[in-house]
Amino acid sequence: MILAILKKDLKLFFLDRKGVLLTFLLPIILITLFAFAFGGIGGATKESKPIKLLVVDNDNTKESNAIILKLDTLAGIHLIATELKEGVALVKKGKYVGVLIFEKGFQNAIISGKKLPMELKYDEAREIEMGMLQPVLMQELMSSIGETKVKSSITEYLDKNFTGLNQKIKDKILTDTNADNSLVSTMSLKMTSLVKEDKNKANIGLIQAVAGTAIMMLLFSITAVGGGLLDEKEAGTLKRLLYAPVKPNDILFAKMGTALLLSILQLLVMFIFSWLVFGLPIFKDITALLVLIVAVAFAVSSFGIFLVAIAKTRQQLQGLSTIIIMLMSAIGGSMIPLFIMPAIMQKIAVISVNYWGIQGFYDIFWRNLPLIDILPKIMVLLGIGIVMTIISTQLFKRNILTSINR
């Protein structure tokens, strides 16, 4: 008897595709993502993409050029030359992890053994990348600067004491000389966070917690609100609405409007709560914050309605939305901060609505960017909303309205 019930239950379980997906596939995908993020898988392999680092060479000497060329040969770093002002702006916008600056007098400082005029300005929001970059950078700098210092000392000595020495012999001596890193053991790299000077800057963990969680939970709650459309279909009230002089799309747009207003309200409540309880500086740029909240709410509510339009029943919606929202949140940085993800995952993240919202909130609270600099992300969010609305309209007609009349 027990065996018969057990067999029946197993059969029913495996017939339920969504249940199987939730039980096996979703955890496998989440484990893979977390392994990428926390386990370093793919992080230090030869195939992993190098970290892009801006470099400003204000010294522009033989020595500074040689060190830059050497750094660029490293597998983990890709150097991009730029001007100081532009480089700082790009890092502040979160485009690059940092900018390495070789100040004037760098070559002279090597030769004279003075403190090296070099600085690494970086984005603290990407401290994990910095953590990976710093040791590689320091090791290579010490090695290159040590070698340069020794060679320049030997050259100076040879030029002074052995005038007219054959160049081939000089080169041989320099090639055979092993740089001693102890010569530059006192070398230190000045590290400056580009947003550190702002006293109103929010805690990065708090921004991640608020933005990541708010968007993920918003997706769940809006899907539940949109699911009311399927409840109305099952209860017959949707059909009754169609008997009235109401256009079918108006019903969908009304539901979207409800979802949008509730989304805005939910985000406002979450940010006000974070301000009151955790001191998140929401009034730092309230205009930018409100515009971003509306854009996020529009994108998320449209996405929620899109999920509703795909599903034909409440049960379908529950299974589908759990899988998609969990994946989007994991990929988009709601569950795991994107800056600790490998480069490939950071590239994939752009397909997620969570990504654009979270990065927008980082821009406001962490990077202190003005509204004009956040506009591209806002445009993407609005674009997602518009595309999702168009698709939802078509799916609503095909999946929901058609089935009402059968």
């Binding site: 209860a235 008997y243 009349n405």
Partner: protein
């Protein structure tokens, strides 16, 4: 009021409605009678504009439904088969919502709601949530929501499913009142007694086709069904019974001391005279009228609830 010509609708390979035509006059209660899956609801969905036909034409109050569905919607009301109300809203809130969809000015709408609640006998419960209502009460609010905008035509799709006889009678009274006020009503059901009580004319629909239409007596003629009169005698021998059968000019069946004669009440005097001539003492006479059930059976060869 309604002209339907050569209306058809298929779902994939299934012909749900197959080239049907009928006319409904202003002020009529028109019954659409047929078993489940006959095509009644598909027909109502097309008439009420929410389903596009594959072919044919529907004119309601001079408006082509396919060409001007939104104009048409203002003139029609639909009572759906399901109780399509918001369970967590009160009856009054429900009616207010459904009425607002027809752009009725708020004051006019509020007055209308009160008068309709009066009509359906639920004024005292108007503030109660729908989920606290009995099935019969919900059905009445279901009707009320469809008549707030005073439609010229009311489509009622099996509006009495699953309710007690008392509530059913109350609904019949509401329908009759609305009809007296001039509303044309299209009533679909598979309950014979409802059609017999309410409808002026009936269309019998089966497998997507209208098999017959007309008044009940017209359908009776079409089906060639007569009334049956049962004569019960004090005592009746087989030979006397057979002799009686041979004397009357009607089909009859002898069953113990009863003889069932297929005839009309007009033939009754003639048959009683014959029984007197044979010195048979009539104990009881029962007239069994032909009903829609027998007409439907005769026309389709199957029972209505098959």
């Amino acid at each position: 009021m309604i002209q339907v010509s050569n209306l058809s609708k298929s779902f994939n390979t299934v012909k749900a409605v197959n080239d049907i035509s009928f006319t409904i006059n202003k002020g009529e209660i028109f019954g659409l009678l047929g078993p489940n899956g006959a095509g009644k609801s598909t027909t109502i969905n097309m008439l009420s504009t929410i389903l596009k036909s594959d072919g044919g034409q529907i004119i309601i109050d001079g408006i082509d439904v396919n060409k001007n569905p939104n104009t048409c919607k203002k003139h029609i009301g639909v009572v759906p088969q399901e109780i399509s109300l918001y369970e967590d809203l009160s009856a009054y809130e429900n009616l207010l919502f459904w009425g607002r969809l027809y752009d009725i000015p708020i004051l006019e709408l509020k007055n209308k709601i009160n008068s309709i609640l009066e009509l359906i006998g639920l004024s005292d419960r108007k503030k109660d949530l729908i989920k606290t209502y009995s099935g019969g009460m919900k059905r009445r609010i279901n009707i009320a929501a469809a008549i707030l905008h005073s439609p010229k035509v009311l489509f009622m799709d099996e509006p009495t499913v699953g309710i007690d006889p008392q509530s059913r009678n109350r609904i019949f009274e509401v329908i009759e009142t609305l009809n007296k006020q001039g509303m044309t009503i299209v009533y679909t059901t598979h309950y014979m007694e409802e059609v017999e009580r309410l409808c002026n004319r009936i269309a019998i629909i089966d497998s997507g086709k209208i098999i017959a239409q007309g008044t009940q007596s017209e359908l009776q003629n079409i089906a060639n069904i007569k009334e049956a009169i049962v004569f019960e005698f004090e005592s009746l021998s087989a030979s006397k019974g057979q002799e009686f059968q041979s004397k009357i000019d009607h089909k009859s069946i002898l069953n113990k001391n009863k003889i069932i004669v297929e005839c009309t009440t007009k033939d009754l005097p003639e048959i009683i005279i014959e029984s007197n001539n044979l010195e048979l003492i009539v104990k009881d006479i029962v007239v069994k009228k032909a009903n829609l059930e027998s007409i439907f059976l005769s026309l389709t060869g199957k029972k209505l609830r098959d």
